[in-house]
């Protein structure tokens, strides 16, 4: 059987849950293919992995596809994975009295300059008409620096955001899932070359992945248990992750659906804030060739 190599940006990010579910529920096998999951350090690294030929299908935001094409890495989004920043929150320590407006002139932690968290921070600056310093501290530096008071606030991803708000260490002052207008935050991406050479394989892979989304929606207990196991976290937090991110994921993935183009455009526009130059037109970064047919259990 053909093997599809799936590139995932970080382990504690929902795409890993999706892909793991597909593997554990043998959805790839049902499609007659095999999957090999590789975890990368973050979004950019995942994209580099695909460009280097080490991954066949990856999950990343549209901005990287646009930037990649500029650098001669020809790829497209083949399936729409999420239309919002689910689980992303602007957080302050619980005892802090600061609100979003009060962050003017303060320091806010992000994971890396130009990353998803940076875009959200920039969006906040623009949308709330305030100015603060964005301090890149890496994924591992977010909570420690927030709790130590080196920064006044942090843009935190899920399920870390749920974890520290549940533990009472931090509280949310802005929930990006609802605050930011719907835009295509992440999609499944393949190289044009690969899509042309093995369209069947790509189709089967997206079928399995969306089959997994369907399975997860239908099987709360199993999924919560899986999240708890994968992320090494208590079931309560896994449940929050399930309710607030997994349940929000796109179920069809169809890039041809109405509103998708506008959502991609918005996503690219947001990326401009982060310093991305010469953004390509939407048509160049998406492909409508593959419409996922979720694999049934």
């Amino acid at each position: 059987a053909d093997t599809i190599r799936v590139g995932l940006p970080t382990k504690t990010y929902w795409p890993t849950t999706v892909a793991e579910t597909a593997v554990r529920q043998k959805l790839f096998e049902k499609e007659g293919i095999q999957a090999e999951l590789t975890i990368y350090r973050s979004g950019a690294e995942t994209f580099e992995g695909m460009a280097a030929g080490a991954a066949d299908i990856i999950l990343d935001p549209p901005s990287l596809v646009s930037a990649g094409r500029k650098k001669g890495v020809m790829s497209r989004i083949v399936a729409n994975a999420a239309m919002g920043n689910f689980g992303w929150q602007l957080m302050v320590p619980t005892k802090s009295t600061l609100d979003v407006k009060d962050l003017n002139g303060k320091k806010v932690a992000i994971t890396a300059a130009g990353s998803g968290s940076d875009l959200l921070a920039l969006w906040t600056i623009q949308d709330k008409k305030i100015d603060f310093t964005r301090v890149p501290v890496g994924g591992g530096g977010l909570v420690p620096n927030l709790l130590a008071g080196n920064v006044e606030a942090a843009v935190v991803y899920s399920p870390l955001s749920f974890q520290i708000s549940k533990s009472g260490e931090a509280k949310t002052i802005l929930d990006y899932a609802s605050a930011v207008p719907p835009n295509l935050t992440a999609g499944w991406i393949v190289l044009d070359k690969f899509a042309d050479a093995k369209p069947q394989l790509v189709q089967k892979a997206v079928n399995a992945l969306y089959g997994a989304v369907g399975f997860m929606r239908a099987n709360r207990d199993v999924t919560v248990k899986l999240i708890a196991e994968l992320y090494e976290m208590p079931p309560e937090i896994a449940a929050l992750e399930y309710d607030n991110t997994i349940m929000m994921l796109e179920t069809s993935g169809d890039m041809g659906a109405a509103g998708v183009n506008a959502a991609v455009q918005l996503s690219l526009d947001l990326a401009k804030l982060g310093g991305l130059k010469d953004i390509l037109p939407v048509e160049d970064v998406i492909s409508t060739k593959f419409k996922p047919v979720p694999t049934q259990q």
Binding site: S42, A113, G114, R134, G141, L147, A148, A271, G275
Partner: protein, 265 residues
């Protein structure tokens, strides 16, 4: 062909490859942008890079003082006094075995996210190799020389400055090279991990948005730092060579010694 010519040819070769490999598509531009596009990227944002270089340079210089100064001093003490050596050395090299890069994000909690944490990290990073090389170099000193100095009433500090240092100078300088290079790497890497200023910050920011020409423009600046540092070391080496004749480096000019090396090649 003289060594210098060959080296220059290699450098020119590397430059040509750097331009051609990406242009011909043998290496995707994402991984290695051509030299020209790198230079253009750097030139376009020269002001930004200049500012970053100032920040990094400051951190490198301060760390260098800590790492090299401290490393040589402690290495000299530890290398010349057996008791502290057997006690301290194993502890120090064991502590160095803790993979600090991984803990760096946590360290910033206490050291802050500004220059201090970079300086601390880079100093530690460059300190041990300098210290170990110094200590090891000192241990290989002919004990007879120390005995002679002692008989003439040399105090510990006199022995350190007048005997141990000059005798260990080749080893210490090589240690300094390693330590200094690590300081540069340490500053840049810690900037890449956590910071909002400096060359490392720019590298990692441009990397996140796949802007490889700007990434490599940053790398070029790091290279520039290394070249500057290398020039400084060579200057010291030349100064040192004057009073170092007769030790190994001095002998190397001798046909006898260079003859000795022939079979090894």
């Amino acid at each position: 062909m003289s060594a210098k010519t060959l080296r220059h040819l290699i450098v020119i070769g590397l430059i040509v490859l750097w331009e051609l490999l990406p242009r011909t598509g043998l290496i995707p531009e994402l991984f290695l942008p051509s030299l020209s596009s790198t230079l253009i990227a750097g030139w376009t944002d020269a002001a930004e890079y200049g500012h970053a270089l100032a920040v990094t340079l400051y951190e490198v210089v301060v760390s260098m003082a800590f790492a090299c100064g401290g490393g040589i001093l402690l290495g000299a003490i530890v290398g010349s006094l057996p008791r502290p050596r057997v006690l301290i050395m194993p502890m120090v090299s064991s502590l160095y075995a803790v993979p600090l890069v991984i803990l760096y994000p946590v360290f910033t909690v206490w050291l802050g996210i500004g220059s201090e944490s970079k300086i601390a990290f880079a100093s530690i990073y460059g300190f041990l190799p300098t210290m170990l090389a110094t200590a090891a170099g000192i241990q290989t000193i002919d004990p007879q020389l120390l005995l002679a100095a002692r008989s003439m009433g040399a105090t510990l500090s006199q022995r350190l400055v007048r005997v141990i240092m000059p005798a260990a100078i080749p080893t210490v300088l090589s240690g300094l090279r390693v330590g200094g290079a690590l300081v540069i790497v340490g500053v840049v890497v810690s900037e890449m991990l956590i910071s909002s200023a400096g060359i490392g910050y720019l590298i990692s920011r441009y990397r996140t948005i796949l802007d490889s020409p700007h990434v490599f423009a940053g790398v070029l600046l790091v290279l520039f730092l290394a070249i500057t540092f290398n020039a400084a070391i060579r200057w010291i080496e030349r100064k040192a060579a004057i009073w170092q004749t007769g030790t190994r480096a001095g002998h190397a000019n001798d046909e006898m010694a260079s003859g000795a090396m022939q079979p090894a090649t």
